[in-house]
Each structure stands twice: as structure tokens, then as C-alpha cells.
Amino acid sequence: MKITQEEVHRIARLANLRLTAEDTARYARDLEEILDYVDQLGELDTSGVEPMAQVLHEGNAAPLRPDDPGRSFEQATALRCAPLSGAGHFKVPRVIER
């Protein structure tokens, strides 16, 4: 399947990636190969097979958790790995509301 440069750019934008021209060409080729492989899988006749979204407990009830509080992280612990913090908050480069 042919993947255009524009499609690669769009996917990169959605994934928050900045690509060089070189990257773009390489990813277009990689994505094409991946999709070709998926097409190959599509040759199998799966008309009698139930769709399966994940392998965990498929068809069984999800294990549920009782609503009992456990220990929360201390504020300082929660923030320890943050590159920037202040006033008990994580600090991130300013984002516009969306």
C-alpha cells in the first residue's frame, strides 16, 4: 500500500514527532511494509472467527477491584521524578487550553 509524504506528516503530528525529510522518506517506506504485512494477514479466511481485541480473559468477566483506598503517594514522592515542579504542582511548558 502506498503511503504519501503528507500521510507520514499527519501521523507524525498526531504523535507529537518532528521528522526530518530523511526520516519522512524512511517512515513512509517502513509504514508501507507494515501495511503490506497486514494485508498479507488479511488473506486468511477469518469469517468463522470471533473478533478478539485482546487476549486477557477474553470472553470472561474482567476482574474487579473492591473500592478500598490504598496508600497514595506523598506529594513530594509524586513530584520527585518531574523535571520541573512548584507549589505542589507539576510544571510544564505553558499549554493553551484546548
Binding site: 499527519r10 503530528r13 498526531l14 507529537n16 481485541a53 485482546q54 486477557l56 480473559h57 477474553e58 470472553g59 470472561n60 468477566a61 474482567a62 476482574p63 474487579l64 477491584r65 473492591p66 473500592d67 478500598d68 483506598p69 490504598g70 496508600r71 497514595s72 503517594f73 506523598e74 506529594q75 509524586a78 513530584l79 520541573l84 512548584g86 507549589a87 505542589g88 504542582h89 507539576f90 510544571k91 510544564v92 511548558p93 505553558r94 499549554v95 487550553e97 484546548r98
Partner: protein
């Protein structure tokens, strides 16, 4: 790309269009812990003090679904007449924003928990049934603070206490045709969800949040217009304002030959306007896919039946019962079922009073008036339901006149004492005893020869003067009906 801003249309022009409104309401479920992990989500705690590995999206942390969240969401689904699916699935909604450390929100997509519901709504001009498309479960995001700090121009502050709180999102059909209908729907939705016990729906704590989808079309046009989505509506007043503004804006755009863009707009609470968020077109591509970390959610018929059985009485059924059992008006029944607490209070007061219609009037009149003035909820009322019932009973027995009862009520509200205690302490009771009133009436007639002559001369209206004198002489305690009869007898006889 900025939308064409053509101002607002006038009412006559707006009247040539039909608005089409659908609402998406997020409701926080009343659990102790988060939807997929064990930290709490209490309101008003210090920032980032309620997190855990799942909430922070730490490597290797896995979500496990909260059983109580599922039960409450099923209860909410039944309260809005939805069909609960025996099999539903969670999905990842992918987007980058610092309020979600994982880079995706766990939600439900193509197989939601419940579908095909409805609510009957009533507003000033009419009533109708509003369809509900679906109810699905999802996790809440954290809170991002954009101002208030010295470095706010450069940094946003993120608090993840709310991240992972359990939500249900309820999506209506585009069945509403005015801002009033939308508000009526929200009111009804809030009430039934509160009664179901799924959430307190306290908007000030963000437990109920609303987005509105709005479009307009020429009257008679079978096609819907292009809709915009208004976010950030956190009070019913804002919902009404935003919808009215957006209708007038869209009509003006169309009338000036422009195009309404499908876009997300933010309601500006200070100006009462909506403004385009001008997000990138493709930011709406959330690339949903089934959540690999969570197995499907299975609700067995037994589980569903037991939740249905345990569901408390809901407002529509309660209103019908009130009409039947207490013989009150439909309006009264609506007011008295406006919250679980109000309904409970009224029923207890009616029981103690022995006269439910009178109890209904007292609850809606004096009590709610006093609570409003004091800025209190009915749960905080200094006058208990039994105490109010006791007061009403004293009126019913003729011990207190309506006027005296109001004075007694004010003292009950101020002191928390019972009506009987106050009546006893102040010597307040209605004088209905003829022997007691006889002397007083005699004195008044003796001292008012002029008025007596007027009455005897045919000016029957003077009777009111005498009743007033009797009330004055007894400090309002005389039974006016008895005084009236006795005066008439004395003067006519």
C-alpha cells in the same frame, strides 16, 4: 482559521430558524477510590496528594476496574432508562495533554456500557421525551492551572488529584430545540442521577460538567446544520447563556452568507460569549483502539437484576406517588422532589403534621425562604422535619393561628427549639375560648360607641376594625374566626 464573526442575529431573525441541541454530560461517580486504582479522589485536597503508579502512568502500572464504579454506572444507566449491555469494552483515546500523563484516556468507544435511554422533561412552555444515545465509563483527567503564579506566562501547573476519578459520560440525542429545553433536561438528569445514588452532581465541585452541541437550520429544513461544540459549561446559567449566544451567532453567520464551521468553542463566563478554540483540524483524530490492559466488562443478568432491585425510588415515580398519597399539586410534587433530602424532609414533616398539604406549603414557603436567606441546605436546617410537622400540627389543632405560627417558626429557626417549647415559654397560644374573648370584646365595644353606631347604621365593613382591635388587645393570639363570629353576634344580636 478564524471563523467569520458576523455578530449576533436579532430575535425576529432567530425566530426563522430552529436550533438543534444535544448535550454531553460528564458525571463523577461517588466512589471512594479512582476508577482503575486505589488512590482517593476527594475534593479540595492539597495538589498531587492523591496519586499512585496507575494515575501517574508509571511504567508497568496496570489498571484494574473499580467494582463500585461499575455498580454506580449501571444504576445511573437504569435511572435514565438505558439498556445495559452485557458486554462492553474499554478503549484508548489518544491525545497529548499534560492533564493525562499516559498520553491517552481510558474510555469506552464502540461498545459502551449502556445505550438507548430517555428522560421525560418539562419546562415552562411544554414537555417532551429526550432520547439518550449512550452512557459510557471513563477516567477523568487532571487539572491544569494556567494562571495565578508568577511564572504562569511560561508554565502551566498540573494537579493530578482528579486524574483517574471515575466518570460516566451521558450523551443525549439532538432532541432539544431551545436553551430552556436543554436546562430542563439537565435538571431532570441531575435529579435522577442524584436519586440513584451514583453521584451528588455538585457542580461547584466539578461533579457534573456539560458540553453542548448546537446547530441551527431554517424552519422546515429537514437537514441539520453544521454544529459547534461548546465546552466549559459548569453551571446551568452558563449552559443557558452559552446556548442562546451560540444560536444568535450561528444565525448571524448564516444570514450574512457565511458558513458555520464544525469546531470546538469555549464559553467565556465573564463576557457571556463563545470563542473558537481554533484547534488543529486533525487534533480530533483520537485514534481509538481497544484497551489492551483491560479485559471486556461483563454484566450478568443476575448482577443487573440485583442493582435494579436495589435502586431507590426515582423522581418520576416519587412525583406520581406524592400526587396520589399526599394529594398535592404537580407543581408542589416537583418542588418537593427536587432533591433526595427535600423529599425525605417533606415526607417526615407530613407524617408529623398530620396534614400533608399544609406541610407541603410550609416546606416550600417558610422553610425554603428561611433556608435561602440563611444560605443553608435543607440538611442543615435548624428546624427538623419533625419539629416543622409539630408546628403544623399546632395550627391544625387550632392552638396557633397562621400568623402566630409564622412568628413561632422564626423563633424555631433561630433557636432550634420545638414549637411547643416556644409556645409554652412565650405564652403564645391562640385564644379560641369564648369565655376568655367575651370580656375583651365587651370592653372594645364599650369604648367604641361611634363605630358601633356606624355598624348598626349599616356600615358592616366596620367589623374589620373591631377584629383588628381584638387582635391587638390579645397580642395577635385571638382566633380571628372565633372573634369574628362573636363580634357579629354581639353587634347583630
Amino acid at each position: 482559521m478564524p471563523a467569520l464573526e458576523a455578530g449576533l442575529a436579532d430575535p425576529a431573525t432567530i425566530a426563522m430558524y430552529e436550533p438543534v441541541i444535544g448535550l454531553e454530560v460528564h458525571i463523577q461517580l461517588k466512589t471512594r477510590t479512582k476508577i482503575f486504582s486505589h488512590s482517593t479522589h476527594r475534593f479540595g485536597q492539597s495538589p498531587n496528594s492523591q496519586t499512585d503508579p496507575v494515575v501517574l502512568g508509571l511504567p508497568g502500572a496496570l489498571p484494574v476496574l473499580n467494582q463500585e464504579a461499575v455498580s454506580l454506572a449501571i444504576g445511573a444507566s437504569l435511572a435514565i432508562n438505558c439498556r445495559v449491555n452485557g458486554f462492553s469494552r474499554f478503549a484508548r483515546k489518544n491525545y497529548f495533554y499534560p492533564d493525562l500523563p499516559k498520553g491517552y484516556q481510558i474510555s469506552q468507544y464502540d461498545q459502551p456500557l449502556a445505550e438507548h435511554g430517555w428522560l421525560d422533561i418539562r419546562w415552562e412552555e411544554g414537555s417532551k421525551r429526550v432520547g439518550i444515545t449512550r452512557l459510557h465509563m471513563e477516567e477523568d483527567a487532571g487539572k491544569t492551572v494556567h494562571d495565578g503564579y508568577s511564572d504562569s506566562p511560561r508554565y502551566s501547573y498540573v494537579d493530578l488529584n482528579r486524574a483517574g476519578a471515575p466518570l460516566c459520560e451521558i450523551v443525549s440525542e439532538p432532541d432539544m430545540r431551545s436553551a430552556d429545553e436543554a436546562v430542563a433536561y439537565l435538571n431532570e438528569l441531575k435529579q435522577v442521577i442524584q436519586f440513584s445514588g451514583a453521584s451528588d452532581c455538585d457542580m461547584e465541585k466539578g461533579q457534573l460538567r456539560c458540553d453542548a452541541n448546537i446547530s441551527v437550520r431554517r424552519l422546515g429544513d429537514p437537514e441539520f446544520g453544521t454544529r459547534s461544540e461548546i465546552k466549559n459549561l459548569n453551571s446551568f446559567r452558563f449552559v443557558k447563556q452559552a446556548i442562546q449566544y451560540e444560536i444568535a451567532r450561528q444565525v448571524a453567520v448564516l444570514e450574512s452568507g457565511g458558513t458555520v464551521f464544525q469546531e470546538t468553542r469555549l464559553f467565556n463566563t465573564a463576557r457571556g460569549t463563545t470563542t473558537s478554540m481554533r484547534g488543529k483540524e486533525d487534533s480530533h483524530d483520537y485514534r481509538y483502539f481497544p484497551e489492551p490492559d483491560l479485559p471486556p466488562l461483563v454484566v450478568t443478568a443476575d448482577r443487573l437484576a440485583s442493582i435494579r432491585e436495589e435502586l431507590p425510588e426515582l423522581p418520576p415515580a416519587m412525583r406520581a406517588r406524592f400526587l396520589e398519597q399526599y394529594r398535592i399539586s404537580e407543581y408542589d410534587a416537583r418542588v418537593l422532589t427536587s432533591s433526595v433530602e427535600t423529599a425525605r424532609y417533606f415526607e417526615q414533616a407530613a407524617k408529623s403534621a398530620g396534614n400533608s398539604k399544609a406541610a407541603a406549603n410550609w416546606v416550600q414557603g417558610e422553610l425554603m425562604g428561611a433556608l435561602n436567606a440563611a444560605g443553608k441546605n435543607i440538611e442543615e436546617s435548624p428546624v427538623s422535619a419533625d419539629a416543622l410537622g409539630g408546628l403544623v400540627a399546632l395550627v391544625e389543632q387550632g392552638t396557633l393561628s397562621g400568623k402566630l405560627a409564622k412568628q413561632v417558626f422564626a423563633k424555631m429557626f433561630a433557636t432550634g427549639k420545638s414549637a411547643k417549647e416556644i409556645v409554652k415559654a412565650e405564652g403564645l397560644r391562640q385564644i379560641s375560648d369564648a369565655g376568655e374573648l367575651d370580656g375583651i370584646i365587651g370592653k372594645i365595644l364599650d369604648s367604641s360607641p361611634k363605630q358601633v353606631a356606624q355598624y348598626k347604621g349599616g356600615k358592616k365593613g366596620v367589623l374589620g376594625y373591631f377584629v383588628g382591635q381584638v387582635m391587638r388587645a390579645t397580642r395577635g393570639q385571638a382566633n380571628p374566626r372565633v372573634a369574628n363570629q362573636m363580634l357579629r353576634k354581639a353587634l347583630d344580636g
